[in-house]
Symmetry: C3
Subunit: 355 residues, 3 copies
């Protein structure tokens, strides 16, 4: 099995542009698919995403100021609304039609700013993934983070879709016994929008975090469920219930539960913004537990960042070079198959848009 | 109005290579138009400019030493005079004719080292701009500085020729009310070598620095005069006189006066050396006033550096992309027109030199 | 005399990959001729050199671990022996034939790890230079170092083959009088594998280090012998004997002796690893003398690094540009002639290997 390590961008899709909380301090500069974007809230709180370049002399709008009329450039004062229209030019009444900047559809939902990088006419909000847990602090208290990673965004999807890396990359942290991870019982399948797997470790000794979090006294049935929703999201639900409680039939019972949202938003062909949030579904009334969960996961994901960046550095030396597939790649391969389909669809949409 | 943001070099012109005081410590390495140059004073004090590369093994001559015979290479001791001729090769009597380095015409005047980057036969010293104020410490005590700026040098000229930026870029420092700057009365015209404007703010409340410097008690007539002398110099004379003293007929009277020299010498296509000097023409016998003037201007020009570098970073993403002109660009546009003429003339001279 | 400053790689030759002591701490990542290599010792101590890129997902093997079966990748656990064969894939029995990484012949001898970058079938160990002094701590106590240098490796050979630089580059350290170095009596000749010279300074006042090291009371006959063994090694023997002891007939007598091994291993076209070892052949039973010798040479070689990096920076601006030869280049020119022959031979060998 051979494939290119560096995948082209898929424009007609929703990506995480920022966590809502990142706009608390004002303007935010973020490059997505090589395009510099200014993310901000208008005077009335509406989020916007504009090309981060004034049409007058090219200055970045992130050097500007939010005023009543919109976003005012910090060089000579041209002002733009969230649609990218220039609404004010100091010293003149007439505003020429070419005085505008590109705007991007931006939707705020579930404490996430979603951005659409393709044809605005196709920016269908119903395509946005629901992630209600962010707004359920009683059931799913959570913490969020963003890591800049110097790798093609698909290396993150690969990483998440092949958990055999846990025993090697995370040997010193959450890894545990490599053999156990390799031997887990896997149910893997293609989905409409990506790929899915669930791994079961039945009649299993709970690791310390699990034991403490779920107040287990004996053995557990443990699962790791991952769903790739192409092109850039992975939804994770990991947990365990006491043996005999019928976990495989219905997991929605008190026990040990973790929910993670992973978003890999391309910055360039060889870098991405890794957004992740982690929710505590086991000791919800204990803020210390949420913090401990975060503090445990953070260094683990730094290990992933390090290995992916090292991997990308090698890939960069010869991006066309073949990789060698192994059995553990099965879910990863389904994700890549799904991606290939999305790339093809996107190419067709872009061709239509260009006509 | 569309134009390229990155302008080609004009070689047949005098540029500021350094302030005289920069050679006090010996050899100075400076890249101009992508050419590494060593600036130095010979044993008798004569300034020279040579290609900063020994013809023997390519070592930079800035690693060398000034000796009686000239500039001695720090690797194997070849020695060159200010014309670039090799005058000594250790271990041999005969000096082959190809043993020479390129020399550049350099002229020291008004505490400025001017360099000619084009055909040496055209290096006419009468073309050098006079700037007598540097040598008039009694009337114009001054301070000099040089900032390296990562932008095409013409972004500096643009900046100086459109003062509406004061209210935005320098909002926290000297900016004041943006509307006032936009509304000032402008007299703008093309000149033989560039463009000129004077802005008058008549019957105007003097800002604090002006009030203190000019000992004004009431309103003033205030002006900002800028002359672009292509390709790389802007001469500035700002000031104010008491209303009723006939400032518009004759400004040469005691009041508040500032003279600035601005030189933007291209280092590469996307970087330049910004030389500026500022002279105190209001409290000449008070060295503290000269220092305070400098301390006020310095952070303001750092703000310009920041916005220009941010602007260039955007321009670099697509240098051919059109900019959108506005009314406030009128003086800037005349400067750019003049530049286009200089580029054309220079192209013709270079073609002749290449024949 | 004109030649290119940046020489092509010669692959069919032995190069110093590392000092043996560099593997004491485990895996070592080193790029040679643009190829990332992991150097390591197997569980039984055998040194190996593999391409530093796992064939599975491209992760660097330097992130891995030495296990009984070989070098285990730190991402998903594939394991390779020193021949580059994959011997284990977690989760599967069958190992596909394409699961392998490139291996390089590596030989450990005289505390040096030698690597062969060309056709493995030609990796004849008898071509490796003998350097027995490293294993003679009683007669030649020594110290080793490695400097990364940003220059084509041949600039190092040039440097060593033209000692007239001593009076200029090392003016503040070991240089002494430039005229004396230029006037030394030289015997220079081509050899089968490179070039050789010996410089004699007869009836000569010994410099302080020599006087102290050799316990001289009067004048000495002093020599500097350098042999270039292409493409990357220079052997140095410097020293002095009392006048009248017949140094020119037989130098193997008690006096002042220094032996240096210089290896310049290409990292890229414009950078190399500079390996050097220096042996004390005058106060062998005094560890302090060995340390002092090292402490004196170290900053001197840093001066060489600085001038070579500055030289390369200039060469990079126009690599094809001609250099101007001088008389002092005679040994350097023989070395470059020899190199040209090696390049030609290597090109022929590579053409055969590609057939």
């Amino acid at each position: 099995m051979t494939r290119e390590a560096i995948q082209p961008f898929i424009r007609n899709a929703w990506y995480i542009a920022a966590w809502s909380e990142e706009l608390d301090d004002g303007l935010l500069a973020r490059t997505i698919m090589n395009e510099p974007i200014v993310l901000y809230r208008d005077a009335d709180g509406t989020p916007g995403g504009l090309e981060d370049r004034c049409c007058h002399r090219g200055a970045p709008l992130t050097h500007g100021t939010i005023v009543e009329a919109g976003l005012e450039c910090g060089y000579h004062g041209l002002t733009f609304d969230t649609k990218g229209n220039c609404v004010r030019i100091p010293g003149q009444k007439n505003i020429p039609p070419q005085a505008r900047v590109r705007s991007y559809p931006v939707v705020e939902r579930d404490q996430i700013l979603w951005i659409w990088m393709g044809d605005p006419a196709r920016a269908d909000e119903t395509l946005i993934i629901d992630y209600p847990y962010h707004d359920q602090p009683g059931e799913w208290p959570h913490r969020k983070a963003m890591f800049p990673i110097k790798a093609n965004y698909m290396l993150m999807i690969d990483n998440l879709m092949d958990l055999t890396h846990l025993g090697y990359v995370h040997r010193q942290t959450i890894g545990g016994n490599p053999g156990q991870h390799v031997a887990a019982d896997m149910d893997t399948r293609q989905t409409d929008h990506g790929a899915y797997f669930i791994r079961w470790m039945l009649d299993h000794d709970p690791p310390p975090t699990y034991r403490k979090g779920g107040k287990f006294e004996g053995k557990v049935d443990r699962w790791q469920e991952f769903e790739y929703v192409g092109p850039s999201i992975v939804l994770q639900w990991s947990g365990a219930l006491d043996v005999g409680r019928g976990a495989q039939e219905d997991r929605n019972k008190t026990g040990f539960h973790l929910r993670l949202l992973h978003g890999a938003t391309p910055e360039t062909e060889t870098s991405f913004h890794y957004f992740w949030s982690t929710a505590n579904g086991y000791r919800q009334d204990d803020p210390q537990a949420t913090q401990e969960m975060y503090d445990e996961i953070y260094p683990t994901f730094i290990e992933d960042k390090e290995i992916m960046e090292a991997q990308q550095a090698r890939v960069n030396l010869d991006p066309e070079r073949a990789l060698v597939g192994i059995h553990a790649d099965s879910a990863l391969s389904l994700a890549r198959l799904s991606l290939a389909k999305l790339i093809e669809e996107d190419r067709n949409m872009m061709a239509v848009a260009a006509e």
